[in-house]
Amino acid sequence: MSKKNLKRLDLIFKNEYDGEHILMKTMEKPNQEIVNELIISGLKGRGGAGYPTGLKWKLASEAAGDIKYVICNADEGEPGTFKDREILTQVPHKVLIGMAVCAKVIGAHEGFIYLRGEYKFLMDSLLEVIDDFHVLMNKVGLDFRVKIFKGSGAYICGEESALFESMEGHRGEPRNKPPYPTQAGYRNMPTVINNVETLAHTYSIFKYGSEKFRDLGVQDSRGSKVFSVSGDTPIPGIYELEFGMSLQKFVEDFGDGDSKAVQVGGASGFCVPRKRFDKTMIGYQGKLTGVSLPTGGSMMIFNSSRSMYNVLHNYLEFFVEESCGQCTPCRVGTQQLLLGIEAVKKGQRPSDYLDKLLSLAENMRVTSKCGLGQSVANSFSSIVENFKEEMIY
């Protein structure tokens, strides 16, 4: 039966709203002070990549240019992730306050929410909240307007530079980096692009102070994190937990008692087998934390009735379809990995062919242009290495 090891928190979804007060306060503060608050809080990007949010705002505020943008990345497409949808349903006004403070800091007058096409049903309620928000903007005297830009069903557009391409009317193909968005983002202007949850956390930080946020979590992984829990669990759903927990405790709380593996971070994340639960922490890699796995919040639990071959096969089909096709390692690599595991399973290839596939995946990690191709190896290698017999027999 599920235990309760982990501290459940209620910062993000707490039913309180103090937007006007927070904005009035921040309007009086020097930008440097706001940025420092964020840096001290230790907040890192909640989309999964973990870039320090304060630093991102600082770089954009220092970037040259009169026209700058704030973009809220709501293209939540990672399999097993659904927290941003819930945040946008329950507390969208907090996200908008985060955007407004960012706009004030970097000097932006225009902001966008890039909403994935699958979440189009949220449009009407969001537009209402944005209308109220614009009234508030007039009241506090901040020249900042937010629009919604709808996606049309492409996972890769969650990658920030692909998202800009998409907004500019192109195929969602990632750009070369550098330059980074804080230098040249949307329309090549300095842009802060933050995940929905990250912006909601900035609200909490401005409301309760950076110390309160910093006191939660562990070194390198501060604050709370919203987790999307799915798969073989009696209690699937969205949970806000203290960051930097052990996977063992997580499984004791959320597993069905028969958990064989947990996929941390979605299809592009890592698969952890039962024997490593107690040695694995959830959070950003740091000197003190040992083996830590980052996640945008996706936690998928598999019990012993599941075939890990089927799991990997499903992930690879996903990547084959969602690879933008721009760079060869990812376009061809994803297809060859899929064909490869099928051939081994059918006995058309010897089992040591898996070693070749593993080296192909590692090759993709080094040579792919963006995070999609680079991270296919995460799930591929961790599943193949830990569940080799399931791949063969």
Binding site: P79, F82, E118, G153, Y155, R187, E317, E321
Partner: protein, 164 residues
Amino acid sequence: MTQITNLVKSLADRHGRYNESLLPILQGVVDENKFLSEEAMVEIARELDISAARVYGTASFYSFLNTEPMGKHVIRVCKTITCMMHGKNHIIQEIEKTLKIKLGETTHDGKFTLVETNCLGQCHKGPAMLINDTPYTNLTPEKTREILQSFIENEALSSTTNLN
């Protein structure tokens, strides 16, 4: 002017004639016509003063921007991992049986198209599907049949009203 010329023009009036307008215009045509015909894409290219190849290149990248005809109601069943684990195949079979079409097909009357799609972000409530823009979750074959029946009845109702 044809219907499509009018539609594209009104969308361009609303969204502007910039690079940034392309996706909203494409989405607007799909909302109205369910797909982007060659004629529509050529018309958009003319209206925005860009090449038709560029319009097609962008359109064909996105899975929700169909370049083939689709039914009035597009059913998208999530096929990603947790929905698969929780029985999306049974849901697809149920839809196939009820509508008498196979995956990827459109009913003869042009009312329904059945396709699979990648993660809908409803993983804790799988299996899930979208019908047009509305998500339906925690599906069972029975529940799916009931949802489809209500669509079918509404369609029958609106066609009798039209006859009157």
